[in-house]
């Protein structure tokens, strides 16, 4: 299943946050959404998740316009992981992951035939079974990010949208989370992920979409998108681009113009 945004324009008053942007996911692939702060990445991913209604353009889920799909059906096909890690009450990790089953539960009886199995598989996939009984608001950042991803996986979605899931994590946890994600995507899941770390984006994403001031600057394989010229144009930085372990390594060297 794929999700596709066609010619999306969103406005805040008269300011264009996104300007005629199109993007599509691919089953079994990770699409990385990159660009500087304020480029419109979060807005685009929220448009794809159906949380923001675009002023122009449309979002299609498996070829059907998003507006025509019921909230429950959408929630069974599409999982969204926001940037903020919010857990308001001391809910247990097990119960938190089980929230991913809400779209499957019978509205009155709460019955969900595959619920327990799906939760168990999500806990296993993220290697967090040992945390199941812990209150989620007492976890470390690295643990919580895995728990929240497990919640999205318990939804057994076909499309996963993640907004900077590695934000605030140390290098080891960043790598670990992206390795988990990479492995899961191989099972046929379509993933669109916002990333700030260009080296990690180059290494883990099959395809990159580069945004600049709300417009699509370039899209394609990491090697084709992450060029010195593009990085200078979009980020206003000069970079040293190298290769290690078969992937690009991007080292920013200097800021070339005043970054607003």
């Amino acid at each position: 299943m794929i999700i596709e945004a066609r010619n999306i324009t969103t406005l805040i008053e008269t300011r264009r946050i996104l300007d005629d942007v199109s993007i599509a996911s691919k089953a079994g692939k990770i699409i990385g959404l990159i660009g500087p702060n304020g480029a419109g990445k979060t807005t685009l991913i929220r448009v794809l998740a159906g949380l923001v209604k675009p002023d122009r353009g449309q979002v299609l889920l498996d070829g059907r316009p998003m507006d025509e799909i019921t909230l429950t059906t959408r929630a069974r096909q599409l999982a969204y992981l926001p940037q903020e890690h919010i857990v308001h009450w001391p809910i247990s990790v097990y119960d938190l992951v089980a929230m991913g089953r809400l779209p499957y539960r019978h509205p009155l009886t709460g019955a969900d035939r595959h619920g327990q199995q799906a939760v168990q598989e999500a806990l296993q996939a993220m290697a967090i079974e040992h945390l199941a009984a812990r209150p989620a608001n007492q976890l470390s950042g690295g643990e919580l990010s895995r728990v929240l991803l497990a919640r999205a996986l318990a939804q057994t979605p076909q499309v996963l949208l993640a907004d900077e899931p590695t934000a605030g994590l140390d290098p080891a946890h960043k790598l670990q989370l992206l390795q988990h994600l990479s492995r899961i995507s191989k099972t046929g899941l379509s993933v669109i992920i916002v990333l700030h770390d260009l080296t990690l984006a180059a290494r883990f994403c099959d395809h990159l979409v580069l945004l600049k001031q709300g417009r699509l600057y370039d899209a394609g394989k990491p090697e084709a998108v992450l060029t010195p010229k593009a990085l200078l144009d979009v980020y206003q930085i000069t970079c040293h681009i190298d290769k290690a372990a078969g992937a690009l390594v991007i080292t920013p060297l200097a800021v070339e113009a005043t970054v607003s």
Binding site: A49, T70, I86, W89, P90, I91
Partner: protein, 338 residues
């Protein structure tokens, strides 16, 4: 692990349900006339051996009082739990969305204009209308897509305005007795309520409570923030509407027959939250039972502590609740400093 959590929840729910039954029976036993449990049982079952006077005391004075304490306590506890879950704030209480202030104002208007002398139930009826109107204005101000923050702001504004108009009624009251009547009513009480009061309030409380009980899934989902809840298929606008409607119906009716009874909707959810494993859906049932226990106990206490000149129920709940509120603030401050 999951089973232990469920067992703990069910044990607490069963304990509270038993508490409600015991306190309900004690409430029927409490009063000026010393009556035995057997007499009360006979009066309730319409046994022939019981005198007319005793039957009247039980059925027309004590039973409505106990029923109202149960219903109103449950309404306050339940709506407090639902609001705390929705606003993700342990300091939220039903009065926050303006319903108590509006209901109090409606009742005060009925008292001020002496409508009760024309129509016996003018006070509760006007209270219900006042509560609904206030909440309708809050809903209109919040807007269909309003966030919980706008809901709080609109609720605070309407509560303040209702409070100002209530003060105006007191200020302009034609004589000290009229002012006294208003002040006493505002303090909240279940004394001298009849089965007609029960018949008037119960349908609204049951309907409102029923609506609030359907919101468990949505309240659980917003634990992870509104965006995640929406992505889990929760209709946030509908949830907010149902929350406001359920609270307006149950708390509006409760306030209109009993006056303002504070803190029950704050304390009951807060005390019982540790037994829910942080799941707002589980808190709904516990807080309803806990609220009923609290109000039944408080209503027994006002009759026992000051039998000759009965202390107002709202005064007692405030006396117990205010220190509790302070404790909450201190605990929150401690957490922030850690």
């Amino acid at each position: 692990m999951k089973r232990t959590a469920s067992l703990k929840f069910m044990a607490v729910a069963a304990g509270l349900a038993l508490g409600v039954l015991v306190l309900f029976a004690l409430s029927l036993l409490t009063g000026a006339a010393q009556l035995s449990p057997l007499e009360i049982f006979h009066a309730l079952t319409g046994h022939d051996e019981i005198s007319e006077a005793i039957a009247l005391v039980i059925r027309e004075i004590r039973l409505p009082r106990a029923l109202l304490a149960l219903l109103i306590g449950a309404a306050l506890g339940l709506s407090g739990a639902a609001l705390q879950g929705w606003l993700r704030n342990p300091l939220a209480e039903p009065g926050l969305i303006g319903v108590s202030g509006g209901a109090a104002l409606g009742a005060v208007i009925a008292l001020y204009f002496g409508l009760a002398s024309h129509f016996a139930y003018a006070v509760p009826v006007c209270g219900i209308i006042g509560g609904f109107l206030a909440v309708a204005v809050v809903y209109f101000l919040t807007g269909r897509q309003g966030s919980p923050l706008t809901l709080i702001l609109a609720g605070v504004a309407i509560s303040a305005f209702s409070g100002a108009l209530t003060s105006l009624a007191l200020n302009m009251s034609p004589n000290p007795f009229a002012a006294m009547e208003i002040v006493f009513w505002l303090m909240g009480s279940l004394a001298d309520r009849s089965m007609d009061h029960v018949a008037l309030a119960a349908p609204f409380i049951v309907l409102g409570g029923g609506i609030l009980f359907t919101l468990g899934r949505s309240l659980d989902a917003v634990t992870l923030g509104e965006d995640v809840a929406a992505s889990l298929g929760i209709n946030l606008q509908q949830t907010q509407f149902l929350l406001i409607a359920g609270t307006a119906l149950s708390v509006g009716a409760a306030t209109s027959v009993a006056g303002t009874i504070g803190f029950v909707g704050l304390i009951a959810p807060h005390v019982l939250r540790p037994f829910t494993d942080g799941r707002p859906s589980r808190l709904l049932l516990l807080a309803a039972l806990g609220g009923a226990c609290l109000l039944l106990a408080a209503d027994i206490a006002v009759r026992v502590i000051t039998p000759t000149h009965e202390m107002k129920l709202g005064v007692l709940t405030a006396l117990m609740g205010a220190p509790f509120f302070l404790m909450l603030i201190l605990k929150a401050r401690q957490r922030m400093l850690q």
